[in-house]
Amino acid sequence: MKKLVNDPKNVVIEAVAGFGAAHADIVRVSTDPVYIARSDAPISGKVGLVSGGGSGHEPLHGGFVGFGMLDAAVPGAVFTSPTPDPILAATKAVDGGAGVLHIVKNYTGDVLNFETAADLALAEGIEVRSVIVNDDVAVKDSLYTAGRRGVAGTVLVEKIAGAAAERGDSLEAVTAVAERVISQVRSMGVALTPCVVPHAGEGSFTLGEDEIEIGIGIHGEPGRARIKLEPADAIVDRLLGPILEDIPFVRGDQVLLFVNGMGGTPQIELYIVFRRAAEVLAEQGITVVRTLVGNFTTSLEMQGASVTVLKLDAELTSLWDAPVQTAALRWGR
């Protein structure tokens, strides 16, 4: 394992300190317990948005703290959900009296720890709602699994719910918008190489020289199938198929197409993926009206990408377009 780290035990705390120093205009950082908050939080009367999860997916979530998006992000150890204490501390730090929404990715650990934190916050008189993001169509959603995983679609939930909160929507309304995004967003990813968790020092899984994993999770969890490497276009077709089957997109639909890098894939490849994905959608009569391409929900240095499609309507589009000013996503100010 070769990494730009000091003591593997200090990876998260040092990175968060560096993040705070680099973006002091946007965020402030608490180191004990560890969370990242908007520098102007709490904002009186505004619904607070808190997300979090294991580290290693940067810029998710810390890179999305700021005007028009999250009020706080709570990073756990690498690939390990945070404990309730920092979630509670972040929730209290950003509560401006209008309540707080927890945006949680659907992993048992995240759900349980946010649940506990929400209970504790409630006990302290803070109104907390939670939404669970589960956009990964690679996983069968059934009574007999932990349900679908939350992956890159989370970024879109955070942006759009953040815009709703910023314009002054109530906790109920912000929650409803977030739920609407969750119901209309689907993703699926592919890994070409594994990632190495700093404390483990070894690949999270192994792939043969010519193998790829279709339906990979963002923690290196295996997906639907391990297949031989194929041309990019064929891989994109494998990712888009299940997405388009899942929400029956219809001709004339307008969508946001988001190609997300897993961290270690050159940008040039992400655009090759985008090209094919846009082509397939066009063939289906689906119009791409908004786009996002880049490394936004990563798995450390994993090579691979995911494709996310969000069905838009006028309101979601205008919330997407609303100004945002975070370390990783910025426009309009």
């Binding site: 294991g54 048992t108 699994t145 483990a200 070894e202």
Partner: protein, 212 residues
């Protein structure tokens, strides 16, 4: 050793050592069908507990020890295992609140409450390939041993053996809860890491009790 606060502390100290020794093994099990952090999580949590054990007042009861374990695991482990083990110790502590020493009945109550705590939080059933599959056989074996007139240490030993067998038994299964559930058939042939850490924990409990 009687199952008093001294035992409870010795058990937890021994557990910390065991988690540290088995850190890599648990990481590897979790890498196979999860995300490769279970050993790291358990080790981090129990090391944190270790640092706090000495702060307990001398008159602390077993329940006080377990409550300390619960809150420390909840606030340091994270992931799925943190809340689950935390709730187990929290509920277990409540079940034996006030006892200076656990007899067979109290021991079974402790184990039952701990298991119920895991089920309450995680909603897993037997056969879902989770830590429940170590805890439930342990509870069953402990109850049977108690019914059969066994002594506290023998009950604990029966629980440990059953937990180990339970963890082993998860290997051929498909998982229906936790990260391994994403794997479908591919989880087959791998032992559940949480079931394994539970077996290690109960083995440490039994072994500590067995020493003078």
């Amino acid at each position: 050793m009687n199952l008093n606060a001294t035992w409870a502390k010795a058990w937890i100290r021994s557990s910390a050592q065991v988690m540290s020794q088995h850190r890599v093994e648990l990481i590897n099990l979790d890498r196979d069908i999860g995300d490769g952090d279970h050993g790291e999580n358990m080790d981090r949590g129990f090391q944190a507990v270790l640092l706090k054990l000495d702060d307990l007042p001398p008159e602390a009861s077993p329940a006080d020890v377990f409550k300390l374990v619960a809150t420390t695991l909840i606030s340091t482990v994270g992931g799925a295992a943190g809340p689950l083990y935390g709730t187990a110790f929290l509920k277990g502590a409540a079940a034996v609140a006030g006892s200076a020493e656990l007899d067979g009945t109290a021991l079974v109550a402790f184990l039952t409450a701990a298991r119920d705590g895991v089920v309450l939080r995680g909603k897993a059933e037997s056969g879902d390939k989770t830590m429940v599959d170590a805890w439930t056989p342990a509870v069953d074996a402990a109850e049977a041993a108690l019914a059969g007139g066994a002594h506290d240490r023998a009950i604990l030993s029966a629980a440990a053996v059953a937990a180990e067998a339970g963890a082993l038994a998860t290997e051929p299964w498909i998982a229906r809860k936790g990260r391994a559930s994403y794997l479908g058939e591919r989880a087959i042939g791998h032992r559940d890491p949480g079931a394994q850490s539970s077996a290690l924990l109960l083995r440490a409990a039994a072994d500590t009790a067995a020493t003078a």
